[in-house]
Symmetry: D2
Amino acid sequence: MTYKVAVAGCTGYAGGELLRLLLQHPEVEIGALTGNSSAGERLGALQPHLAPLADRVVAPTTAEELSGHDVVFLALPHGTSAAIAQQLGDDALIVDAGADFRLSDADEWERFYGSPHAGTWPYGLPELPGAREALAGARRIAVPGCYPTASTLALLPAVAAGLIDATQVSIVAASGTSGAGKAAKPHLLGSEVMGNMSPYGVGGLHRHTPEIAQNLRTVTDGDVTVSFTPLLAPMPRGILATCSAPIVGDVTTADAREAYAAFYAEEPFVTLLDDGQWPQTAAIVGSNRATVQVVVDPTARRLIVISAIDNLTKGTAGGAIQSMNIALGLPEATGLSTVGVAP
Amino acid sequence: MTYKVAVAGCTGYAGGELLRLLLQHPEVEIGALTGNSSAGERLGALQPHLAPLADRVVAPTTAEELSGHDVVFLALPHGTSAAIAQQLGDDALIVDAGADFRLSDADEWERFYGSPHAGTWPYGLPELPGAREALAGARRIAVPGCYPTASTLALLPAVAAGLIDATQVSIVAASGTSGAGKAAKPHLLGSEVMGNMSPYGVGGLHRHTPEIAQNLRTVTDGDVTVSFTPLLAPMPRGILATCSAPIVGDVTTADAREAYAAFYAEEPFVTLLDDGQWPQTAAIVGSNRATVQVVVDPTARRLIVISAIDNLTKGTAGGAIQSMNIALGLPEATGLSTVGVAP
Amino acid sequence: MTYKVAVAGCTGYAGGELLRLLLQHPEVEIGALTGNSSAGERLGALQPHLAPLADRVVAPTTAEELSGHDVVFLALPHGTSAAIAQQLGDDALIVDAGADFRLSDADEWERFYGSPHAGTWPYGLPELPGAREALAGARRIAVPGCYPTASTLALLPAVAAGLIDATQVSIVAASGTSGAGKAAKPHLLGSEVMGNMSPYGVGGLHRHTPEIAQNLRTVTDGDVTVSFTPLLAPMPRGILATCSAPIVGDVTTADAREAYAAFYAEEPFVTLLDDGQWPQTAAIVGSNRATVQVVVDPTARRLIVISAIDNLTKGTAGGAIQSMNIALGLPEATGLSTVGVAP
Amino acid sequence: MTYKVAVAGCTGYAGGELLRLLLQHPEVEIGALTGNSSAGERLGALQPHLAPLADRVVAPTTAEELSGHDVVFLALPHGTSAAIAQQLGDDALIVDAGADFRLSDADEWERFYGSPHAGTWPYGLPELPGAREALAGARRIAVPGCYPTASTLALLPAVAAGLIDATQVSIVAASGTSGAGKAAKPHLLGSEVMGNMSPYGVGGLHRHTPEIAQNLRTVTDGDVTVSFTPLLAPMPRGILATCSAPIVGDVTTADAREAYAAFYAEEPFVTLLDDGQWPQTAAIVGSNRATVQVVVDPTARRLIVISAIDNLTKGTAGGAIQSMNIALGLPEATGLSTVGVAP
């Protein structure tokens, strides 16, 4: 069976990556492509890399255009998904790449997003314990944020195995600029970002902070506190997350590697790298793969774990399609690749 | 039927790109992977983006390792292919990504390469008139150089239609650094190339110069003279070729677009862009697509045509596989994509 | 004596570079700094690299703010300089980094800029024959465009010496993104420009085209026709101009080098590189130096000459200060450097 | 008085930056320039950005060539400085940009460098309490490592004021590729580093780790333990150090800003940025300035402090000259600038 899919917000980076991946997915047919200010324009001018869709015309983002599809991907600003979901009803699988339905704690939502909580949808990170069960047959999916995907995959086995003090987690994650979207802002100009490393949202302000903690809490009964510092790096794609926390007891690198190897043994899209190899973003560009490496610094008595993902693929569009596959009962890796485009 | 393929020189950039594409080719099985100084090492450490091949061990490049395959790709320094081809015999299809068998004029070869001419193999640029016929069933294929692919696709329709004075062709082509290979040289260090545009091989010295002229001569009886200046650009992949020549008579932009549209009407991997759109390398990264746009400057009385390709894909590995498909009688686009990885 | 200077348009890239250079100029005192939408803001937030000016507040761009200075630099959109100049009178030296007063041919101006011609000011390219005489004591200076600076310095000796057919000049010039300014536009986002080479203004449309031809006409009585193609390169600064034209007679590389060496023998900011070395933008970043190399391709019968400048320094702010020095009777190199910031 | 200075190791990145800065230093005259494999070559081909020194010929690195200078800068591989220093005697001020004499603890030295400890020289970080007194009149100076400079300047006020638990310090520092030097290695190729973030020396292995701890111990009697993770970033220059540690008691952002403002009130080359502004490497490229910003995350109960320096300037050559100025009794900022080259 072929599923008819629509993409709302097809002109941005998340929408473009969804389409790039859907074009190579054997079980889908691409239906409506909608946008906002670009409605009426040809996609060829807006997403010149999507050659097979060049002649498609962008439709306006309305429930009418989006109805009649088996799957609707929403790559929209947060705050807009609830209304569309209500209008589309439960026939369609709605996969929201935005933030609206990620957080389960309404207070946290309101504190970080400043608007009323819209609810919670099944969370599209299959590697979380229990997630696949919740996603199977789901009609609604909240796609995780890109930083939470990278950070959670890095830390989950350590928290689950009790290797670290989860109240002292520190994450410094460098992201490519596509994570900041396609809206033109002066500080995102090429002239500004090339040759430049810069932080933002420092001090616990970034909205992905509570989402990371929420994910880690799924594998521990203890407290979880996360310090998260995002950096803008001079590259278009990729996240490198450097995570650390104090070790518990006399945990060694060997202990950690064993725990990670066991945790990810069956995961198709997470690789614990060989001893001596470290994640690098270039190796996973365009792929749905997360790479992870872990070590214990015995002097600092700290576990350091580093992960790399493509923020647009595993961090957004690839993760979304992986979850869609599970929801639809398709083999989870359908249409997704572990092969990166390098150099 | 599944074809068993080997890749000699699997650790370099051309070899890596061949493997990236072969991994998604439905009709091949990847056999021997050979290298030189890295024989005995795991591919995971050398090509970390090729996740499915991480556990493969690099074999030495010998006729013994390479025998028993239906197709053998050679991604080796020039001067080494003839000996291997001889040892492998005519059972295998040998696709040489190197230069040894590209030029038909032995004098030109010796002048530019400084060694005896080894011969001429069917030339793997299917878009050249007559090329598909020559490639069908071929047992030997010489893969074009990356600059010749970009330049030839840009200029071929103009020369064929007699729109320009082909004795006054000027080409300035900017290439990503992967075109210079993976051997560590000081001027290719990241510290040197980032933020830097630099020329090399200026004044007719680059070895791709006679190959471009040879290609253009296939569509004209007149003289062809090419001035070719390559530039190193601060990006890993992509070639942007800016080509120009004096127009003949009163050729207009409309005339030129018409000639180009007709010439490439049936080509699966060459796109004449819509009026107003120009090639950019980012849109074709990782794809086998060449994009082309043409205009006539009526004041300068000059036709300017610009093309973009990925030097590793359409310019090397993708073009090689496209030609392999033709030689094997497979649909030409098998395993190849027109979708780029952007941003 | 210390000259009091104002900079109108201090928040853009040209304004920022003027201030960077003026801060190290021993004979000036920095007075009013004016802007438009940023009036009232501290410069520290807008130009964080200009540490000594961090506490300065941006004033509005009015004649009142700009009066009372010995020198006023205008780094403003074209079309705005004439009114300001009139209001300031002839007491101040006005140095216009914009285009308004560069072209002497009113028809050319109107054709390329679509507005009435405002007049012609002394042209601030000291290397043009006669320019220093015109600039000495001048009260008005039109700073050349960045592409015309790079292209003119590359071609001037060849045209002056009659080495090339000046009716067949072809220029392909790659520029860093700062040349496109600081206004946020989607195609200038870091995500778009990194890893990307793209052309624009192809086919004789770029406004710098007639300015280049005008400059070359100062050294020949013959016709001059220029084909000019600008490229956007993935780097913040720098222009690499690849220029070529058919040679006249049997001109050799030795002839060309001799002509260039003689032409630039006394120039403090133009270097004909040693035989075998080629211009690269990284070597001149932040400096006021132009580097040039020339060769004749005997097969193509074409002279190829390549130049590199920093578009913001020699191409805008450095050239402006060099001309200011001449106008004020200061040593021409005061406050300017030939040392680049590399790597 | 003019000081005659020699630079041993003039062809690398540290040597090149020393020369760039020395060329604009009003009190020095550049004497011998020495190298190793490049002895006999012209500097113009090796450091093309140093225009005024283009005709200088590289001499071999011998005591004979280096004698007769007031100041000798050593930009050499570690392990080579002691022998040269001995041969030159105490007449010359020797400024070692290498690691040999940085660490005071012989055991730490041997553990991280694997060779016998050569001794300890006055440490060239003037911002350390007591450092200026030790440097005044010194005949030997050990220039700090680039990461220690960035990390120490970020953390010093917090440790001195007892704001943080110094046994739980975590540092993640992203560096431009010039920090890895000019020796050609495959993983430093432009093709590899562009678009790539990658870690190295993870788990307490990097040799700068004990140096950072040693510096922080100068302002506390308590224990200091540092977890340090260096990242390679796709840019030529700059370090962005993200440092954090648990706060002590109820320290607030206001407390922290007050402590930092007081600590750096008189420092010419360290700027605590305005509230709301964060360090970015682009703003300090080519300058001797360190920028710092600090915040307390009250949820994570963690102080986060971020600093930016140019690894080659404040992190190596600028810091070296700053210390030289102190040793020679010159005003500390002579020949150094706080102005960056941006964009």
